[in-house]
Symmetry: D3
Subunit: 127 residues, 6 copies
């Protein structure tokens, strides 16, 4: 079941998202046992392994794209954490989210800012 | 009608988008004469003037967010040009667009890649 | 196949959209012969017959909602025409579309303004 | 930090949304201190100050557009309250939301109706 | 108020969704008394009565489309139950949802899988 | 560069989409040379190889989901062709698209019907 791509993908998820990343790969094992591996392989084993874009910018792009969707606050929180762990500052994350008001409107941007606050507050409380 | 914020916004649009940027600010003068100024002021006079995120990353975030929308290929082309003019490489732009397949699906990503190709080909032909 | 609801719906479509409205009800007769009647019945035979909202405001609400979708420029043009025929001024239509920049972003709003321009120009040329 | 546009914007927010409006302008002061002012300036200081569309219709257009987005129930509730405070009747608000089933589907419309019920029930309990 | 189409629609909703289906038709009687009938008539009295697509595939198509929207988890749960009651297996439902990662991205697919788990767990606990 | 998953994926694309499928895997070789393989591997080498859902229903689910997106008419045409090649009838495809009016609104459904007409007419002319 495991191969090199999956292994690299899981290491990337652990690096970006910590314990939550390890859990994420198995979160649907009860109802969709292969789904976690597909996501791991395609997203973190293929795309996130690529040269040509540094990991911090990649996670800021993830924050941008998911903020624009509007409906995916839990996934946005995961990637806000990922951006922090990839070296982005809180300010950079906030700037990216605020900017999305221009392309996706203020509701999407405010949902994004709420997600950022929740991630930042959790990080503060864990210090 | 013009103020300092508008002036700075227009300079930013010219820097990012070239002659197209100057045109963009006036493109709806016939049907919505104030719209161009609102966009100039809010997006390029306020948000794009901010410290905390370098201009190249800002434009890559724009590419990410607009790719995720799926329906806005002309606006995406404008910001792909903006990303190039802000110092992003073609490779970085392509990486951001490809990555959006993970969050918004392959149709949105392929529309994004088509937009990138059109901008790159136009840039090639103008050399 | 025809009943009172369908008849009222078709009259409403003709009133709002003119000859295009009569055509719209039959536009998919080749591939989906009942679709036109469903749309006529549900939208124009049920909802648009209701008291409680004047027809002009209803069409401005249609313009607002379809602008926010971003991807439906032909349908938006139909309802911009409908808004004009229901008594809305060009200024009111433009105001509604501009306002959508706040909720759905500037790309959606600019697609809306392009739609409005095309409808207005066609109306000008027919005078 | 405050100017005439911001001042007018804040007055508009207080008029439309009451105490919630005053709070909304400062709600992200901890993570994104300038965001509230940008929203205030662009949306309520620029767009909502414009002639050409009466405030009641503007808020009904907001209800229409945000219902069509589908994902922004809290923002929809804010503008349902705004529509009431701008003089729209409950019936007019419900008609606009129901109508969105035609353009954005029944899930978006039912989320809108749930939002309306919550706002109406809160208003009832405060009488 | 009741007619043959409404009657057939209600029977279809009861067949697909059980007691929840009967409730759904009246759920907005307090704020939007005709809305339930419009939905019943258009969706379950017209479309769902049609030959040409078996009911199981229809409900799997509903699961596909609503998963792609991303924002409508409660409606998705209703149609996952409907798919089960129309004869789809849990495996078929999961396959459809997983597949949506390709067209609408992983966030939409994972929201869908969460919805499926909740419906399956409720069904388990009721056995 | 090629492996077993890629090989199976390409065979699936050729089976579903004919010559267009073979072209699709290489369509971005100029700007994003690995993208075609990622799509081939993840979508057609992984998901479309799975048991648990017959290929015809899978393609009808693709038609449903992509119709609901609203903005991806070219991709929808590809999967309408795929549905035909997987054994779906024109009637089944039309039923799925019509049904999306309930979840995503009439604009999305009419864009879907236009896509179906174009695919059907091309198929007629090639007979």
């Amino acid at each position: 079941m495991s191969n090199d791509k999956t292994k690299k993908g899981r290491e990337m998820m652990a690096r970006l998202f910590g314990p939550a990343g390890e859990k994420a790969a198995n979160i649907f094992d009860d109802v969709a046992p292969d789904f976690g591996q597909y996501m791991t392989d395609h997203v973190y084993g293929d795309i996130y392994q690529r040269d040509g874009l540094d990991l911090k910018t990649r996670e800021l792009a993830a924050v941008a794209g998911i903020t624009a969707l509007g409906y995916a606050k839990p996934h946005l929180k995961t990637h806000i954490l990922g951006a922090l762990n990839a070296g982005a500052s809180r300010v950079e994350i906030i700037e990216v989210i605020m900017q999305m008001s221009a392309y996706a409107g203020f509701p999407a941007a405010t949902i994004g800012l709420m997600a950022a606050r929740e991630v930042f507050e959790k990080a503060n409380s864990e210090k």
